[in-house]
């Protein structure tokens, strides 16, 4: 696999980042301490380079109808300016990716897949578009994505937005996006700003052409210095999203997993009039009771000791294998180990105590409701 570098690679290097491969991209894992970066996002703000994420434009008279067919949700129903979390499934109901789609016009959507899946998703969209009057354009290679996440995110961003446009930012709702002027190097540029994130905090994601990414990154760091903003890497992004109970493709989600087992049933619109890829299989899976009365479902686990469960560790009940951990680590915010796991539905009720085999030693974990962490409003 070739290594990809984002337009911000030099910024990360200068800041002393250690790097990791993620979805074929060399991404900053941490700059200083992943714990400090985690706490900064919870208490002040963190700056993330998410340029490895994909960006695919879907435009044309059939854009809404096409996405209703290609994705599991009813994308035609969302208002212009809003966004929706959805899944792209295969014919068997397996999850190709989880993604966010922004409706940018009556006939215009921006679809944002995960880094490692971007090529796959773009190809699937092109293939599924055959009978629709739409154009599918993958602009991932020329688009950078920068996120400011944390309670101070809005205050930081407003410093770069002309005063007459402040209300566009302050009134922007969660899962909505707007074109707004942002000062990059003294020049105000109109950029797409979304109030979305993957941390469990308030925050924004800004889409910016590669050529301007480094200047925007520096401008945000300058504007945020007085608000406790620090660059934050993928290590803390993982601990933040886990605390917030958000699934990670490759851990909780995969082609071998369906939406009902993953607790994403509400994302699937079986009620929409149109057919969609995976509909028949998902209807059968739901009718069979997968994730509720049969099979396994995704649960949250809270460690009762100090040792953390990690991905792929076996989950046991009275010595019998009943599941497998998908993600786990010590929660920096909560101070105890947290994990997500697929377990047999009969052992999935909140309050059930299960064992996780931690390298040969059983440790007790309690099934708890997700998310582990919810910010106070």
């Amino acid at each position: 696999m070739t290594e990809n570098y984002t337009a911000l690679y030099d910024q990360h290097k200068k800041a002393g980042a250690s790097f990791t491969d993620f979805g074929g991209w060399q991404m900053p894992l941490k700059y200083t301490s992943e714990l400090a970066e985690h706490h900064a996002v919870r208490n002040a703000a963190g700056l993330f380079d998410l340029s490895h994420m994909g960006e695919v434009w879907v435009t044309g008279p059939d854009a809404g109808a096409f996405l209703d067919y290609a994705l599991a949700g009813k994308l035609s129903a969302i208002a212009v300016g809003k966004a929706k979390y959805s899944l792209i499934c295969d014919a068997d109901g397996g999850i190709i990716d989880d993604l966010i789609s922004y409706r940018r016009g009556e006939e215009k959507y921006l679809v944002v897949p995960n880094a490692g899946n971007a090529t796959k998703v773009a190809a699937a969209l092109v293939e599924r578009a055959a009978n629709f009057d739409v154009a599918v354009e993958d602009v991932s290679a020329e688009t950078s994505l920068i996120a400011v996440q944390g309670p101070n995110a809005e205050a930081i961003l407003l410093q770069l937005v002309p005063a007459e446009q402040h209300s566009l930012v302050t009134e922007l709702k969660y899962y909505a996006a707007v074109e707004v002027g942002i000062a990059v190097n003294g020049k105000v540029q109109t950029l797409l700003l979304a109030r979305t994130g993957y941390t469990g905090e308030d925050g924004f994601e800004i889409y910016v052409p590669n050529d301007d990414a480094a200047r925007l990154w520096e401008a945000l760091l300058d504007a945020g210095a007085a608000h406790g903003l620090i660059p934050a890497g993928l290590a803390c992004r993982d601990s933040l999203r886990l605390e917030a109970g958000m699934p990670l493709y490759g851990n909780e989600l995969s082609l071998r997993v369906n939406a009902y087992a993953a607790g994403l049933g509400p994302v699937v619109s079986l009620a929409k009039e149109s057919d969609f890829v995976g509909k028949e299989a998902l209807a059968a899976i739901k009718a069979a009771g997968v994730g509720s009365t049969m099979g396994q479902k995704l649960v949250g686990l809270k460690g009762m000791g100090r040792r953390a469960a990690r991905g792929h560790y076996p989950v046991l009940k009275d010595g019998t294998l009943v599941g497998e951990v998908t993600s786990g680590q010590p929660s920096p915010t909560l101070g105890y180990p947290v994990a997500m796991a697929y377990v047999d539905v009969e052992h999935s009720e909140v309050g059930t105590v299960l064992d996780v085999d931690l390298r040969g030693k059983a440790e007790r974990f309690e099934v708890v409701a997700l998310p582990f962490y919810k910010r106070s409003k």
């Binding site: 985690h38 290590a235 040792r307």
Partner: protein
């Protein structure tokens, strides 16, 4: 670049061993290992009075990202453990050769150990 302290000896598993001053010797993990692990949040040490065997696991070190076995770099009886590091494992990151020491052993036999120069050469550490 991570620091390697010249007056210590090192195992291939990144433990350091203090110079033998006649009594039990202090053992810890190197800055190279501490940096690679990330922020350490939990440490499981051998019990005082137990015997550790060079090259065998004797505990574990857990960071936010991962968990690693702790290998005894020497054979002998554990005479003391660092309660400070059990209470505050972050000391391993902030001061791996000082306040972040792990335990002391009355050595009966050393495992294969490297000089600081040899160890630094294996991982690009900085003397």
């Amino acid at each position: 670049m991570s620091k390697v302290v010249s007056e210590l000896k090192y195992s291939a598993e990144h433990e350091w061993v203090a110079a033998d001053g006649g009594g039990p010797v202090g053992i810890g993990i190197s800055a190279v290992a501490a940096d690679a692990l990330g922020d350490i949040v939990y440490v499981d040490l051998p019990e005082v009075g137990s015997t550790v065997t060079a090259g065998e696991t004797c505990g574990e070190v857990e960071s936010t990202k991962s968990v690693s076995d702790l290998y005894a770099p020497v054979t002998g009886e554990v005479t003391e453990i660092n309660d400070g590091v059990v209470a505050d494992p972050a000391l391993i990151n902030s001061d791996p050769y000082g306040a972040g020491w792990l335990f002391k052993v009355a050595v009966t036999e050393e495992g294969p150990l490297m000089s600081a120069e040899e160890y630094a050469a294996t991982n690009g550490g900085e003397l």
